[in-house]
Symmetry: C2
Subunit: 79 residues, 2 copies
Amino acid sequence: MIGTIAAILTTLSFLPQAYQVIKTKDTSGISLGMYTMFVIGVLCWLIHGYNIGDMNLIVANLITFVFAAIILGYKIKYK
Amino acid sequence: MIGTIAAILTTLSFLPQAYQVIKTKDTSGISLGMYTMFVIGVLCWLIHGYNIGDMNLIVANLITFVFAAIILGYKIKYK
């Protein structure tokens, strides 16, 4: 239950930033190095969630990974 | 193993932002509503990690929570 709330809150808090970057293509406030670490980190949480069978970790990090990877792609393309 | 890498990467990718905000007290790029959701979300992940006995979730979210709560305090104080 608390895990579901955690998943909803951290995913929702991330989405407006993702929406803004995708809409404006402005990635000037994002560090390439830090964001690359973040994307790989989220992917590792996703795998970790799969390994321990925690659906909250899987769903939260799957959604965050997709949007974070898109942002990273924009950062690389429009840097 | 992959959980430890996940914990290190997402925590490390968050710390430079925390350092910069704490150093400059400039929180203009941060949304109060989104950040409040994030801080509560991280606290929920911490409790969830404790509930399922996952040390990676506990350590990563404990460190992130402390710095995120400090940033939220700065946001409220210097908004």
